[in-house]
């Protein structure tokens, strides 16, 4: 931070407080106001184990251009109090350029905070709030932040009123409290930075959306009209957002008695001709794998959105990790080829989920879409994504009075499907191995033919270029997937700025594999860096198993819940170069 009036393109702010202090509200109001004013941004949250009202941390990143992940450090930390700072400290990297604004009433910062070297500025949020009608300390902090960052006060006032007027806060009181907060500017160091002002834009082209909402929307765009779910963190809000909207569209969401039932209900509805899905997280996915195998064998379309959380077992339900890759790829018994896709960002949740529905319907095969808690629950301001164009619907059998072979061998392995109610199309969907007609068979030949068919239909399909997002050229390539893509892209931009030519290959289609496409993408690449968020390097081992990688492969793989930071990737990219 150089000059008093200096401007920055991107800024990261964390707000923490104990139960009831309103840290999360403060963060979302900040995001919303910044969005209204024309910036982009992202908010994630971290909370204590309490069901309600526990300590909370809001992490906000604002920028001139779209934001898909957090950065390496925080410019600003607002501490409404210090009660639970130690719980959150690992999530908010601070340094001696960081500014901490702490409520005077909150006492002394903990040693670990002081050790970061960040500058601590004590401000009388509580004292001032006590003197104002209906004001709470976090509103004062919000006023202060508007001033600090340069967010126009009217955008902030509007955001506050929209959100809090339901709770009995008048416009006048809100304005007063925010103004009082902005008065605290005298305490700002002279070298603080403000956000560079945004280009004016048409607000209607932009969304305030989470990945879970985007995925729901993608599913609806894909044609999903029936969902059966069982609640599980962090996937429940996807179901909850979808339920009334599905209803509105003429569809239905049902809460089943458990995940096994929800998966089976989905197959029943899909067998009935309705594109159908379920929504879950790791433990729930584990319960669905037997029935997913049935969908493979009986060739029934079905989509599972799996919002990953920390594992194994119940693990860390509220935090993010990329450790369900293995179960998604390999968790079905027998040889059971199926679709696995992964979203890369909040907005990509829409695209990838929509695509998954289209592929599942086209290929009569279950599709697992991997999202994660990070993008699923991150609230972002983004440009309205453009959905994919509609795909042709499921291939339906034209049946007459002759024999209908449900699992007839076709060139592309896709056999037209009869929909119950159609005269002449009667067949039995079966998880037993069967012949082309669908009659159970344990013959060697039928087994091989049907196994081939089910593999070939996936392998021969033309997925176009969407199997991966490929960016740039260079002898170094970073291979990644899922929400980790954000950190990789940010690091690579910096590496390029530092003169290193780097290619990014972020996989969207994980299964079936695309060895020829990958070979093309890796042409000329001599060094590959694999970046993922799992303890056992699941993605790396998957790549080794199914792709030809360059001789030199490096891996950054660590578990959640901390997101992979751009600097980790950048340092690795640059350090290793020095060693050469």
């Amino acid at each position: 931070m150089n000059a008093p009036s200096s401007q920055t393109q991107v800024i990261s702010i964390a707000i923490m407080g104990s139960g009831g202090a309103g840290a999360i509200t403060t963060g979302s109001l900040l995001l919303e106001a910044a969005g209204q004013a024309g910036w982009y941004g992202l908010l994630t949250r971290s909370v204590g184990p309490q069901i309600r009202g526990g300590e909370a941390l809001a992490m906000v990143r604002l920028a001139l251009t779209p934001v898909t992940g957090h950065g390496d450090r925080y410019d600003v930390l607002v501490a409404l109090d210090w009660h639970n700072a130690n719980r959150f400290i690992a999530e908010v990297p601070l340094d001696n350029k960081s500014l901490i604004f702490a409520d005077t009433e909150g006492g002394d910062p903990p040693a670990a905070i002081l050790a970061t070297g960040a500058r601590v500025i004590s401000l009388p949020f509580t004292d001032l709030a006590d003197d104002l009608p209906n004001a709470r300390p976090n509103l004062l902090a919000l006023g202060m932040l508007s001033e600090l960052l340069g967010i126009p006060m009217d955008a902030m006032v509007q955001a506050v009123i929209r959100t809090l007027s339901g709770k009995g806060l008048s416009a006048a009181h809100a304005t007063d409290a925010l103004a009082a907060g902005s008065q605290l500017r005298s305490a700002f160091p002279t070298d603080t930075q403000r956000l560079a002002p945004p280009q004016p834009r048409d607000a209607s082209t932009h969304w305030l959306v989470t990945g879970n909402q985007a995925a729901a929307l993608g599913a609806l765009h894909g044609g999903i009209r029936f969902a059966a779910v069982y609640p599980i963190t962090p996937a429940t809000d996807l179901s909850e957002w979808m339920a009334p909207r599905l209803q509105k569209l003429g569809g239905h969401l049902i809460q089943a008695e458990d995940e096994i039932a929800s998966m089976n209900m989905v197959l029943g509805a899909s067998f009935g001709g309705i594109p159908s899905m379920t929504i879950t997280s790791g433990p729930g996915l584990a319960l669905m794998t037997e029935t997913l195998g049935l969908a493979v064998a009986a060739e029934i379309p079905a989509v599972v959105v799996n919002v990953m959380r920390g594992g194994p077992s119940t693990g860390i339900p509220t935090k993010s990790e990329q450790s369900d890759l293995n179960i998604a790829l390999y968790g079905l018994h027998g040889d059971a080829p199926h679709l696995v896709l992964a979203s890369q960002s909040v907005t990509d949740c829409l695209i990838t989920t929509q695509w998954a529905v289209q592929l599942s319907e086209a290929l009569q095969c279950p599709a697992i879409v991997l999202s994660d808690q990070f993008m699923g629950q991150a609230l972002t301001i983004c440009e309205r994504p453009t959905p994919l164009s509609d795909a042709p619907p499921r291939r339906i059998a034209e049946v007459g009075m002759g024999r209908y072979d449900r699992y007839a061998l076709t060139e592309d392995g896709i056999s037209p499907m009869a929909i119950p109610g159609t005269l002449g199309g009667q067949y039995t969907a079966d998880g037993l191995e069967h012949n082309a007609h669908g009659t159970p068979s344990s013959s060697v030949a039928d087994h091989l033919v049907q196994l081939d068919k089910r593999r070939i239909k996936l392998e021969q399909y033309d997925y176009g270029d969407a199997w991966a997002e490929i960016d740039g050229e260079g002898e170094t390539a970073v291979l990644t997937w899922g929400s980790t893509t954000a950190a990789v892209l940010e690091a690579v931009a910096q590496a390029r700025a530092a003169g290193l030519a780097v290619k990014v290959i972020a996989l969207r289609l994980l299964s079936p594999t695309r060895p020829e496409h990958m070979a093309l993408a890796l042409q000329g690449v001599r060094r590959a860096l694999v970046v993922e968020q799992s303890h056992s390097a699941q993605f790396h081992h998957f790549l080794r198993a199914y792709y030809s990688l360059p001789d030199r492969v490096e891996v950054i793989s660590r578990p959640g819940p901390l997101p992979i930071r751009p600097s980790e990737v950048l340092n690795h990219l640059l350090q290793e170069i020095d060693h050469e």
Partner: protein, 279 residues
């Protein structure tokens, strides 16, 4: 089942039978149940393509492929859930679940009680032979506690449970018991069950002559109910909890509203929904 004999029926029971040959042992009770089902469907003049027969795994669960209806032979124990999804998605279909005592009451117990509770309009037909036939003779939840088997030498020591009472307590809307040795009687029960709105449960005692040969003598044990079906759950509960498990007939007729849904795929206009996300 009194119908004017003069009319030529639209369907004969043969119209519901496929060319697939059952794998059942000669003499298996399930043959009788299959034929009862076909008679009931013919009586109701249900077009085969409008009927879906959904099952899990077991000898009893093999029925779908033996029919000319749409069939779904899924995984073990989950048929009521499949049927729920199907019926909600396609309310115009007649949905029948065919299951066994192991499939429905052991591994499928949770879906059984929740299907009773949810009361979607379908019929669950359980062929109860008090044994796992398909896996060659292990005890099921309805097997007597002292039945000696390889896996539980000397008996399980566990009281068999009363599926009809469990169904009633869980909320089933129609509860009946038949005996496969009386195919007409079973057909009659199925006609009533299919016609009754909501979730109908029909237990059919269906001997496994291979692993429970003593069940041949069930024909001497079963006896028709001497009283009329009740609409009062408390009365039905009292009866079912003091019943010997061999009374045949309809026990309970409920009138709870069905769980239904509309699923319509015609609307593709998401603009109103997208509005919710506008900044």
């Amino acid at each position: 089942m009194n119908k004017p004999e003069s009319l030529v029926p639209r369907y004969s029971h043969k119209d519901y039978k496929s060319a697939v040959k059952p794998i059942w042992c000669p003499g298996c009770g399930h043959f009788g149940v299959e034929s009862s089902l076909f008679r009931a469907l013919a009586y109701l003049e249900l077009p085969p393509e409008r009927v879906a027969v959904v099952s899990g795994i077991g000898c009893s669960s093999r029925i779908p492929a033996y029919t000319q209806c749409y069939g779904f032979h899924g995984v073990h124990g989950r048929a009521p859930a499949v049927a729920t999804g199907l019926k909600l998605a396609r309310p115009e279909l007649t949905v029948i679940v065919t299951s066994g005592d192991g499939d429905a009451f052991s591994i499928g117990g949770n879906h059984f009680i929740h299907a009773c509770r949810r009361n979607v309009d379908m019929t669950l037909l359980v062929m109860d032979n008090e044994v796992y036939g398909m896996t060659k003779g292990q005890p099921s939840p309805t097997t007597p506690a002292d039945w000696d088997s390889k896996i539980a030498p000397g008996g399980t020591g566990v009281n068999p449970f009363a599926p009809l009472a469990v169904a009633l307590a869980s909320g089933a809307n129609f509860i009946a018991r038949g005996f496969s040795g009386d195919p007409n009687g079973v057909a009659h029960l199925l006609v009533e069950a299919i016609q009754h709105p909501g979730f109908s449960f029909v237990q059919v005692l269906s001997p496994c002559i291979t692993y429970r040969p003593e069940e041949r003598f069930w024909k001497k044990t079963v006896h028709p109910s001497s009283v009329e079906p009740t609409r009062d759950p408390a009365v039905a509960g009292h009866r079912l909890l003091s019943d010997d498990g061999f009374t045949t007939g309809i026990f309970y007729l409920g009138n709870r509203p069905c769980y239904t849904a509309t699923v319509d795929t015609s609307n593709h206009d998401l603009s109103a929904i997208e509005e919710d996300l506008a900044l």
